[in-house]
Symmetry: C2
Subunit: 415 residues, 2 copies
């Protein structure tokens, strides 16, 4: 086997998670062990850092700080939402990437992100091949939405799910404190996939779950919703609703679109959020005198490293580690995927590879058969699926009672 | 010394905290050790449980579950907002309380709450004295607002402060992930006192604090605010604002009152909240094309037991313990207060007593000299004050990666 020798670049893309930096630690610490990898660069703000030649020299960082990346939320190198145009439309970005890769003899490229980032990887890889430039490109998955195709789950999901489940348990306690009627509507992220919203159902296992749960996989009807709320209110005087930002009506139109202005991000995705407040207003109009409280988990659910799942951190780290190993072994055009070992009695994950083209731009939804018809939650299949992902001590390092985040020097390579 | 012999009642009142149940554990476990205390009752929904004779028999509970109260947020017995009318206006509630106390030979009454609850304690005590009914009444402080007079701080504050500081650190990471401009406005509870909002400044100690901090102790001007935001935005492209729900203009009028409808709770307090959204709208109107994101910590900040301060839990527990000991020793009409030991080099708290009449209905504010003029944060005095309160492992018990809350039997005493 011919081993490519050269520099590697790692970049972070898309919305951050609590553990995206754990994958960075995995890539960096493994790259240091590989003789084939000469230099280790971190691209500032993902592919933008490549285009603008803003590359951090990771060998200049202290090992201790790189280890601390495991408990540092968000993207330590900076992230980006930047969509490459098809080569046929405009190849200037691709030419520039090739130029930079050649200049630094970059033979390994690792990109950490979701659907769109895998599409970016795929396009770059195809272009480099067309130019006969040898470079092994491996995608490292991440997204709290858990909507990546071809992998059992994605790094970032377990931690966000643990945050959602724990916080819903706490909210259940809080919303039941008075004996006055209350409707509390909690909004969870996840775009068109209900995985993260569904994790609120894990709180039900402990007896502190939501009364009503609305996922984007099932069409949403405002009148049905109002009836659901009224029925629960009548029965128990309290309604704890957990709802996905991405709920849609029978025609596929976002509910939020009816009442709040809908902007698009640069990938063309709708910028959602605010549905809890909209629905709270509707409930309040319908049920006079009843206290209604909307709560949006907002950014909190994706950066809550203090309650990250230890399992998730370890898997995110291993995803980065395995990306490097697979690349050095000669693999390219692949994403690291997680396969749950069906022969293991205990939960065990294997790290495999999948062609990038299969991962790009496909959304994985919750099987509708896992969703109970009465909006009360999920079936046992979901519990079996999700529970192992939120386990494990995250070994967070504290200083003065507060998290000790990694403190990187961020030394740029001279252009 | 004559020791009163009889039953005790403990009740929880007002907004819950992460550690109000730790005080319950303190009261119950200490009461079990005291020969003077015959029966131990928990009143459902505070004073309402007394009036309606809905009393839990705490001796029926498992000790293990009572211990777990230390990590169970909110009010395990149920809370209430119920204001007793002055005796001169209507003495029917007082007569009823006396009737219940006589029926069960209640000689000890412990009430856990804030300003208003101490007022309730004081009124009951004065009435019972006027009727020559011997009963020792001790208030146990609690409030995330930390606005109780006569005590160095209040149980509940340290945990909420740790939540706010940690979450602001995480949000700082998240909001700095892209290089596009962003204004993020975080709203924190605390009513008319800035203590909890100020705890966001603890994140600054680690380099991840807010750029701008607005407390209710300093009059708020919308134009000044907009100028502050613009200046920071120009300098660093990102603005992380943390703002108290209780900010007021120079005339003392709530800013939220200008733009959102203001309801009153049954104590006559304004029901605040929503100011972040209102200000985000104003910033958005002023600065076109700039992304503005309001985040309200809402109930999350007062029930986040998963990140409670170990110090706070211990102190809340001790506040309950000491209330029982002091009462059995013959004290009454007092609240347990915390005094920081000035002679100890390490942080050390002593548990003393203060007359209820001094505690009732007085709000303790942050000294204005501790607040920096440029809205950038607090002085060293605040750090020295607040930092010890957020320390310590909370020893949370997990089951399946989720918190294990106390599971009380809640067996009612037969009427």
């Amino acid at each position: 086997m011919k081993v490519l020798k050269g520099a590697c670049i790692f970049g972070q893309s898309g919305g951050p998670t609590a553990v995206i930096n754990a994958s960075a630690a995995g890539v960096f610490l493994e790259a240091m062990k590989q003789d084939a990898i000469t230099e280790i660069f971190g691209a500032e703000h993902g592919i933008r850092g490549v285009l603008e030649e803003r590359l951090f020299d990771i060998r200049k960082e202290d090992l201790k700080e790189l280890e601390l990346l495991k408990n540092t939320p968000s993207s330590a190198l900076g992230s980006v939402r930047y969509k490459l145009k098809p080569v046929s439309v405009d190849d200037s970005d691709y030419k520039r990437i090739l130029e930079v890769f050649k200049k630094y003899n970059v033979r390994y490229f690792f990109y950490n992100g979701g659907n769109d980032s895998m599409d970016t990887c795929n396009k770059i890889s195809k272009y480099l091949q067309s130019q006969n430039y040898e470079c092994n490109i491996i995608g490292v998955p991440k997204t709290i939405d858990n909507d990546l195709f071809g992998t059992d789950h994605t790094p970032g999901y377990g931690s966000a799910a643990r945050y959602v489940a724990t916080t819903v348990m706490e909210l259940h306690q809080d919303t039941h404190v008075y004996d006055t009627p209350l409707v509390c509507i909690v909004e969870v992220m996840g775009r068109n996939a209900g995985w993260l919203t569904a994790s609120a159902a894990l709180a039900s296992l402990k007896g502190y779950g939501p009364d009503l749960l609305y996922l984007p996989e099932v069409p949403f009807d405002v009148d049905d919703f109002l009836n659901d709320v009224k029925m629960v209110l009548k029965r128990k005087n309290k309604v704890l609703v957990v709802i996905s930002e991405g709920i849609k009506d029978f025609s596929g139109k976002y509910i939020s679109e009816y009442l709040v202005s809908l902007k698009k991000d640069s990938f063309g995705h709708a910028q959602l959020g605010g549905i809890a407040t909209v629905l709270a207003g509707i409930v309040s109009d319908e049920l006079n005198q009843i206290k209604v409280r909307p709560i949006e988990f907002s950014l909190l659910q994706r950066c809550a490293a203090h309650i990250a799942s230890g399992q998730d951190i370890e898997e995110a780290f291993m995803a980065g580690t395995m990306a490097v190993r697979y690349a050095v072994e000669g693999n390219s055009d692949k994403m690291v995927v997680f396969k749950r070992d069906p022969n293991s009695k205990e939960y065990k994950v294997n790290y495999e590879l999948l062609n990038l083209e299969y991962c790009a731009n496909t959304e994985k939804k919750i099987p509708v058969s896992w969703i109970k018809d009465d909006r009360s939650g999920l079936t046992q299949e979901f519990y079996d699926y999700a529970l192992p992902l939120i386990q494990g001590d995250n070994k967070i390092v504290l200083e003065d009672g507060l998290p000790r985040f990694a403190n990187l020097k961020r030394v740029f390579v001279k252009k």
